[in-house]
């Protein structure tokens, strides 16, 4: 059924269709309409779930961690400083291998205070062991929330579904609401192998030693490092699992099919722009306009950021002369994290056999600074007409007024 609704409502509909059983959240702009909608679904009995109005984001994730350990499908959502306040719990949820899903409604982080969009909040949580998916429009929000639960439960790793604050969360777009029956066919009820249960007592997240240790029967059990190695192994395997889930979703719902990189006019492109979130769709206009001017350009939207689908990304980009990375986040003191990841993927894939594309890094849109399509056109055109093929050693800033 088609509707016209906000991105936050699209997310709430996804959570409802996925049948989350325990939801805990603390208000923060621009996430609030999402959790307000969920509490409305639950109070009106449209949705059968427990809504726990906690006193902080740290507690929101604590509730989800505990509910998930007890065997429930759990969900939370936050933004910016709320996400950072969860930081310890974010690591904990991944280490405990709990299949939580969290929407991160992307917003810049203080100080100084900003309520507007950039990606610094979720990108700063990159190394916590969570899967991170970025979406470009409302249809992808509702679909990705449903896929995220299936992926999280398939690999026992929590998933963040990241979408742009205001640009997606508060704008209205038409999208198709998947029907409940099809969602039920796609996503089975959550049945964990281990759960808190007085009939089967177990101690969860016990202090674990640096080395392996025998149990009371003499069988060796993992040390901390084995536990963490398995998280890394399963994260890498999650790339293929995400691909399989995407295929299955497309079979049932007839859309999607690009779990890693959503490419637009990249096949013959000499220059490819790379971005995440709604900016990638804005860049489609840029690509169309520059194509009209005769430039062979394309845009690749990174949809799965962790685990990093390096092979798929390198395959998309390796034939291009130049790659232009537009980022709304920074690793202060170096460059944009996505840019570093892309350079790393291209370096590993080309393995010295052929020339790698030059990579042009741009930072833009921090704290909601307006991203003008004209500025993007100029930036891409400038790269296309660049005579030097060396990767520049300075970071480009778009829209900066200093």
């Amino acid at each position: 059924m088609y509707t016209i609704e906000s991105g936050n409502v699209a997310a709430a509909l996804g959570v409802k269709l996925a049948g989350a059983q325990v939801i805990a959240a603390y208000p923060i702009t621009p996430q609030t309409p999402l959790t307000e909608k969920l509490s409305e679904f639950i109070e009106s009995r449209e949705m059968d779930a427990q809504y726990i109005p906690v006193e902080s984001e740290h507690s929101a994730l604590a509730v989800c961690i505990a509910a998930s350990t007890a065997g429930a499908r759990a969900f939370t959502a936050t933004s910016a400083n709320g996400l950072l306040y969860m930081h310890e719990q974010i690591h904990w949820a991944a280490g405990a291998r709990l299949p939580l899903v969290m929407c991160v409604v992307n917003r810049g982080v203080g100080a100084p205070w900003t309520v507007w969009n950039d990606h610094q909040d979720s990108i700063s949580q990159r190394d916590t062991g969570w899967i991170q998916m970025y979406v470009c429009d409302h249809q992808q929000i509702v679909d990705t929330v449903i896929k995220a639960f299936r992926l999280a439960e398939a690999v026992s790793i929590p998933v963040m579904v990241c979408y742009d604050g205001y640009l997606l969360s508060h704008t209205y777009m038409p999208f198709d609401i998947p029907d409940q029956k099809s969602v039920d066919g796609f996503l089975s009820p959550y049945r964990p192998e281990y759960a808190l249960d007085p009939d089967k007592p177990a101690n969860f997240n016990t202090v674990t030693l640096p080395d392996v240790r025998a149990d009371i029967h003499g069988r060796m059990s993992h040390g901390y490092m084995e536990v963490r190695y398995l998280l890394q192994e399963d994260m890498r395997k999650a790339i293929d699992v995400a691909g399989d889930i995407e295929k299955r979703f497309k079979q049932i719902f007839g859309r999607g099919g690009e779990p890693y990189v959503e490419s637009y006019r990249c096949e013959d492109a000499e220059f490819i722009a790379v971005s995440m979130g709604s900016l990638a769709y804005q860049l489609r206009d840029v690509v169309d306009m520059l194509r009209d001017e005769g430039y062979k350009v394309g845009i690749a939207a990174i949809r799965l950021y962790r685990p990093f689908p390096d092979q798929a990304i390198a395959k998309t980009l390796e034939k291009a002369k130049g790659v232009i990375v537009f980022e709304k986040a920074l690793s202060y003191g170096y460059q944009g994290p996505l840019c570093a990841d892309i350079q790393s993927a291209l370096y590993a894939q080309s393995n010295g056999r052929k020339k790698r594309p030059s990579v042009y890094p741009y930072i833009l849109g921090l704290g909601g600074r307006e991203i003008k399509t004209g500025d993007l056109i100029n930036a891409v055109r400038r790269v296309c007409t660049e005579t030097s093929t060396d990767t520049p050693d300075t970071l480009g800033w778009i829209g900066l007024k200093i």
Partner: protein, 297 residues
Amino acid sequence: MHAKTNIFNLPETEFVHPGNRACAGCGLGIAYRIGLKALGKDTILVVPPSCLTVLQGLYPIAATKLPCLNVTFASAAAAATGVIGALQAFGREGINVVAWAGDGGTSDIGLQALSGAAERESNFIYICYDNEAYMNTGVQRSGTTPCGALTATTPIKGKLQKKKDVPAIMAAHHISYVASCSAAYPIDLYDKIKKATGMTGTKYIHIHTPCPPGWGFDPRYTIKMGKLAVESGLYDLYEIECDQFRLTDASEKLLKKKKLRDVDKYFKSQGRFKIMTDDQISAIREDIHRKWEAYWG
């Protein structure tokens, strides 16, 4: 009507394995063993970092025969709420959800989550065992360390501030049940935890647990220290039900007896109070008497 609880009719089932990692003479060890007897098999425990994390054992060996979720330091009460949420989602009833935390995890870093859970009237029992400092990390001062005590972070002057009254904070939330007990009075402790299992809403139980290495006394005197604190009127055994305060057990006896032991002995028996002057002890003695004059009316 149940027969009065005594040492002979306590349940024989043990939920804590012997030979766990608690120190010799650990007050928590006593309270935990008796407390779990009161809670029984149908219990899920939530434990933040504390001496109890150590007592629980190192993976893959566990000292408790009940399901136990170890959580981050500040989140015990919130995590307990999450377990309740899951059980409600499954329609599962008759399981005690119990957060069991130390005084630092309760009075300091865990207080916000505890206050939130109490305000939400979460249906769980929160047990704080109070050994009056961060013992697990090597005896640093906490919000419940008493005035005058030497700790690793008050090494020369002793703590200059008063002990935080956490049960009073919890009583201000008007929750179903607040109780104060001591490892030195295990029957009183058992009865209060047992009572809490039959109530709905938030139940808060505070247990005074003497700590031989942290307080500086011989491990054989754990019970003696706990009793001295109660008999000298310094630490009171009570319960607050429907906002009604009532002294229990040994403290109730003091109410009738109208006489307290001199608190001097309590302070003189512990290494942590060795720098306290007689003037400081006298000031505390006066505070105690003022409090008890009010009890005696």
